[in-house]
């Protein structure tokens, strides 16, 4: 008995020590020893978590700093802009008469294109398996990510959630919603989210190769997509079609996939020096530092009318 307790105590100490060591490295770039940085994951007790937070609390690390890390030679950032190549149809208004609590001005969101062609809510994700992950991502690894029901639409419409993170299904509307999540590999869930009720937590149990649809059966026009992933390397384009994936492992050729809800795989999407294949994938070697793909043009024919 005594033995066991002693061991537990020792291991806690050890873990705590290791965590401090890890944080120290992450806080002061360059993170040249990623192996060591990953070590503290073993037996990370509850006591150690606040310690880690405290250590980083003082230093709010802006993204810029990570870029500096990338400049070091180990990591690179991928950015670009996905463009709808053609004339995009305007969003349609949807019939929200079902629920007086809903705003009357909801429009369809399955294909949103900015005036200059930027494709919103498209997804770019890493396809290469088990990549080396930048230690900075650890801090957000166990975050809660919110999918809000607000004004009878989901907010955000598309987002990335890691398997280690918890998706909080929240309802900010004065009316009841439900969130019908039907992943291919994981377990489906369809809880009612009562107005004013507490958020319902949900965890993805398996990485899904394409984004998982979320629907609301009470308000059938509502839809959202979740990119459920093991690693953090995926991004959703903003309203102008821009995306950034920070801190990818540099030096190796990586495979990426492009996807958008209306089209599915963004096949034949072309950028300077590359083109996606029939299943929206292309290979690209990340250089240390910035990698800009520029405009990735997706032919209009790929999209449904």
């Amino acid at each position: 008995m005594i033995m066991t307790t002693r061991f537990a105590f020792a291991s806690t100490l050890l873990a705590a020590a290791a965590t401090f060591a890890g944080c120290g490295q992450a806080a002061s770039p360059p993170p040249s020893a990623p192996d060591k940085a990953e070590a503290p994951q073993i037996d990370q007790g509850e006591e150690t978590a606040p310690a880690a937070d405290q250590s980083s609390a003082g230093v709010t690390r802006p993204v810029v700093e990570v870029r500096t890390a990338a400049a070091d030679g180990e990591w690179g950032t991928l950015k670009g802009r996905i463009v709808f190549d053609g004339k995009a149809p305007a969003p349609m208004p949807v019939d929200t008469s079902k629920d007086a609590a809903c705003k009357a001005t909801v429009t369809t969101e399955n294909l949103l294109v900015s005036p200059d062609g930027g494709l919103q809510n498209a997804v770019i994700m890493l396809r290469t398996k088990s990549p080396k992950v930048h230690p900075d991502y650890e801090k957000t690894a166990n975050d809660e990510v919110v999918l809000d029901n607000k004004d009878c639409r989901f907010e955000p419409h598309v987002q990335v959630v890691r398997l280690s993170q918890t998706l909080m299904l929240k309802n900010s509307d004065p009316t009841g919603h439900n969130s019908n999540i039907t992943p291919i590999l994981g377990t489906p869930i369809n809880p009612v989210l009562a107005a004013g009720g507490e958020p319902v937590p949900y965890k993805f149990t398996a990485e899904e190769a394409i984004p998982v649809k979320v629907g609301c059966n009470i308000h059938p026009w509502m839809g959202a997509y979740i990119v459920a992933r093991k690693d953090p390397y995926a991004a959703v384009t903003d309203k102008d079609g821009n995306f950034v994936i920070e801190s990818l492992p540099a030096g190796k050729e990586l495979e990426f996939r492009l996807w958008q809800e209306n089209a599915g795989y963004l096949k034949n999407a072309a950028f300077k020096g590359g083109k996606a294949d029939a299943r929206g994938t292309f290979k690209f070697k990340i250089k240390p530092g910035d990698n800009d793909l520029g405009d990735i043009k997706v032919p209009a024919s790929v999209f449904k009318k």
Partner: protein, 1465 residues
Amino acid sequence: MPATESTWRNQKLLHIVFGVSALAMLVGTIWMFAADHRREWKTYQGKFRSIEAWSAQARLSQSETEQYEREVADAHDALEKAQQSVPAAELVNAFNDRVRAEAAEKKDAPPANVKPVDDAYIALKDAQPEQRPELRKDFRQTLQKYIDDARFIENNATSEKKFISAELDVVRSEYELGVGNALPQSQLKTMQARVTELRDRVAAANDEMQDAAAYRKDLEQILNGMFADEAAARKRLDELQTQRKQLELALYERENKVMNEVIGLPIIDAFAPKKLDQIWLPNLTINNNFRDVPRFDRCTNCHQGIDRTVAGSAIEPAYPAEKELAISLETPAERPEALDQKPAGGEELAKFYSDQLHAIYGIRLAQRGLIEENEAVISVVRPESLAAKAGLQVGDTILEVGGGKLRGKNQAYNYLIESAQWGQPLAIQIRRGLPHPFASHPRLDLFVGSLSPHTMAGVGCTICHDGQGSATSFKWASHSPNDPLDAERWKQKYGWFDNHHWIFPMYPQRFSESLCLKCHHDVVELQPSARFPEPPAPKLVEGFNLIKDVGCFGCHEINGYDGPNRRIGPDLRAEPNFSPAAQGLLATGGLNEQQQQWAKKIIAEPDQAAPRHSLMQSLNDAEELPGDPMTTRRLVNVLADVETPGRLRKVGPSLRHVASKLDFEFLYSWIREPKDFRPSTKMPQFFGLWDALDPHSLDVSKKFEPAEIRGMTEFLLSGSQPFEYIEPAQGAEAASAERGKLAFEVRCLACHKQEAFPQAAMNQGPDLSRLGSKLGADRNPNGPKWLYTWLKNPSAYHPRTVMPNMILDPVKGTDGKTTDPAADIAAFLLESKGWEPTNIPGRDLTKDEDAALNELALEHLQNAFSKRQAEEFLKTGIPERMRADLKGDEIELVGDITVEKKLRYVGRRSISKYGCSGCHDIPNFEDVKPIGTGLADWARKTPDKLAFEQIVEYMKHGHGTPGALHMADADHGDVAQEDKGIEEAETAGTHHSFNFLNMPPEVGYFMEKLVAHQREGFIWQKLREPRSYDFEKTRNKSYNERLRMPQFTVLDDAQRESVITFVLGLVAEPPASQYIFKGDERRRAIIAGNEVIEKYNCTGCHTIEMEQWDLEFAPETFGESAEMVDFNFLKPHFTPQQIEASTKVNDRGMQTARIVGMPAVNAEGQPVRIDEDGAPIEADDTETPASYVFTPWENVLLGGNVWQEGLQNVIIPESAIKKRYEPVGGYLARLAYPTVVAEEQKINPNAKPDEAWGWLPPPLKGEGRKVQTEWLHSFLMDPHEIRPAAVLRMPKFNMSSEEATKLVNYFAAVDGVDYPYDFDPRTRQAHLAAAESEHPQRMADALKIVTDNNFCIKCHLLGDFAPTGANSAKAPQLTEVSRRLRPDYVLDWVANPKRILPYTGMPVNIPADKPVSQELFKGDSMQQLEGVVDLLLNYGKFTESQLSIKPMIKSPPPAETPQPQDAAQ
């Protein structure tokens, strides 16, 4: 005569005679023994024994492969690990505590000493693992000592108790004696005290003993717990070793006994084990010339392997029938280096090759072949080797490698090793399975197998196969070849011949299903079922369905009854013409109000006897019959009761009001050649079948046929009764073909085809292409009106149609406009054109036509009158006064003659002649019986009763060139005449001009039978070219005596063979009643329901059985399933046995499972295929290894893990799918799915595709468990809208209440729930009162949940409340729940709807772990759930209780006012 030495016969001669005869006898005896030894079946038995021995050897070898060794090693490891482990400290503490506690209980005893235990334990714990086994033993012994001590105490206590008890007995008897001897009281008192004392001591000793025993048992239990893992590991090892021993034993018994060899010797082999077996079936008699004798089947003497299954399965054949397979075997990329160390030769070389084969490909070859000594048979396949990946199995014989034929085993080594191209796959041809007679029965699940419904000992062989069961050699068993090639081979190999003297020859393989009909009279039970998903008799069932579909029974009744109650076979007969007769009576216009009502009732529900009896009675009592008295009398007679009436409806449409639908030109063209307008029509061809005609007869046909067609058209149109069209809806938008197309697609394709939908394949109803050419306004002004009326209410036109009323009521759209779907669909259908009738005669007859009409009429009239009379009547008409004497169609000619009358007469005669009324309802033909031969015992009809006529000549003379039909042959008439002389001379009387071997096997088979004048040949040609039996006969027949059977152009060769399969099963020889298939009550209900389902094509829309996949997969393929939070009562339950069974691996090292549900589909309705990452693969990508996403609709065990219905998708690799059973039904739902998804996504791009399942006809899996019987019955009779979201409504079928009952019972029986009544405890007052007492205002609180703005009423209709918005998000009316659904179902459904309907959008309202707001309903999740369910099921009662009636009733003012004070109040 003096005695002499001489003998009567010459002694020497006698010696010679004796010697020779003795020798002859010896030779005879030897010959006899030799002949006996060489009997065919003994050879087979010997061979089979060696095959079995080989298989046992192979199994043993296989068990020696790595797979087995690995298991053994695993078990060893586990044991070793267990032996090196340290028992848990808690258990040691528990042991010590127990010892201490025991000591503490004993006063005076010293405290327990547990130090030895602690010491031994610490020693064990501190030791190195490898020392632990020994120390464990010590430790165990230490503990055992305490147990031994305990046992010692226990034994002591036991013996002490015995002693005291003995003493007690003595003292007690002394006391009793003392009482008897009247000893003084004081003495007795002392003795009594002694007894009491001893009794106390016994009790004390007993307590001590029990305590000691409990103590000892406790210790033992703790000890066992400490060493449980070791015991378990040891047990597993023992099991594996036992398994091996069993295999070795099996082999020893079969192979190694020297005895076997001895027993196999001549003479001795006459005794065991080669002995003649027979299956004796005293109750399954066989009719041997007027006498029923018990059946003896000796077939198994040769067919030794017939009932053998693979180890561990009760149904998988051990020795499948042989077949050849091509297999591609990968080779290693590089030449294996080990090949360089090849030994010089001899034994070592053989061993070297054998080892190399094993090392490279993972196979070994058997020492000797299975059938031939020197064949290369695979005896070992190493799991996961190249060979295993290529699919090679133990027992496969390698025939060819890379195109080179193997002659002997050694060549296999050459081909596979020496001449292999490394890195290139090898093409290998193998033979798998065994030849007959060694093969096992292919369907051991159905036949012969011990778990099958037809066990070998129970029914034997010949009851199903026919043949001579008592024979013991191939040729005498009356085997029947499947084609001429078989026959030829058999002749050479076995000396087979066609034994004409055995009247029940075996049925050839192509008809092996026929004789199922002996016992399976209803046939539908032979469809695939949950128990037998593999169709038991597909060909037979197809034949049965074809006969029902094309309406063979309209002319050829198949009467399944011999007398009112004795069933002799399938019963296929048209129903009595009650409905048409009632229509006829109604049409006379002379029925009074009451009679009209009865008539209408009969028309709609002819199986109701009461109105029929009333109408008949009332008309019989009438003084004067309405209408033409003779006709009316006939109609009234039709209404009489029928003994065991037929049950089938006529297959053709009613022609009673045909003039309201069709015009002259269309009808004429249709009768002449139906397939001209509609190539796929089931209506057969009556005219233009001229192949067998000589030139003269052909001229006659060409003359008379147009007259007949003209006459029939005229008769039908002029005799058509008036019809009222339904007026289109007022105020609706103009009809739109575009809307109509969509409306048509999501409804009508369940039964019909149409050219706009090439993907549609149902043929329950006709193909509706080109309807505009038939019913378009430009052809026929009535056409569109008729079509609209038909769409609105088909029964108005044809009361017995199976086409349902689609309830096409006008609908008001969201834009406020009203549309009329019936008008839309009509517009769509009429748009389709592209056909014109051709060669239609003018309305006025030409001179030739008139002459032909007269001539034909005369021929008909001559049957009733003399020629002179006939000629006269044709000129002047039949005088009115003769009307009463006319019995038949001549009535048409009464009165002044006109061309129309002659046409009507000829038409009516033709309709009689061709038996049109067998399929159609035609006025004046209500009492006509079927015109063809009954078929109930056709398969036992002797061939001499079949009119083969000149058929062989016909086949020879070119017309009947096998395989070709000659309908369209323009030059037919002349051929026969020209060649006649030559051919007659050439082949007169012989059949040898046919070489059956040169024909395709199926043609050769039937041709041979035809030439040999056998039934099979007759029916084959009768179905192909029915009129060909008139060849060379027509010249001597009148036109009306010619054959009349039409040609069923819709049937192809395979379908005709199916029909033949069915007809050949019509033997009318039912075996003893215990063998006739009856099934238990539920099974009968299922069968009866299936008939109704088939009749109305319920499965056209609804899935009644989900897809089933048989899986075979390597262990660990599916991994573990995720845990989930849910109500306990919903969690799946499997027994430990079931879980263990699911982890068992089969011979191939694979686990198996059957999964029920449906694969996920994409928006296009195609199954989703994903790659290893889970990303969907495009339909055209067949390269990427694909997996399916399968949603189980039933909980399933995969390798020991439970996957929960509706909640956990199973990712199934394509390679794991052994067999897929398509879903039963749901055709329209699947067909319309993509369209419905696309339509919805047009207005709501976010619509989830799989929700569309909820808008289409729902699968009826679990329907019996779901709905209340009474509700379902009334719903079927009068369907109403349930789901507002549905894109189509359940139509109203033209079905009887009895049929609806059958369906209700069917669903309940399938699900194993109560019927016809179901008891509902949740609606009982006692239940509700009890619940209410626990939770006052429970129902009111539950209503708070239901009406809360977050839950039910978000989507559901409730009373007069309906949610706003699009229909697709609305859900059924909740007030209906109490009438519609069963309580258990509602509970399960509300708790977690996805478990029941995986695609449902209904969310979980009350999660198991998180009740909804306590402000609404105070209680936990389960209480809330129960509350809501009770409310839903008692909604009516609850709302009633909210409404007080009393205040509404005004009491009358009191007459007197005796108490004015009260009145003042």
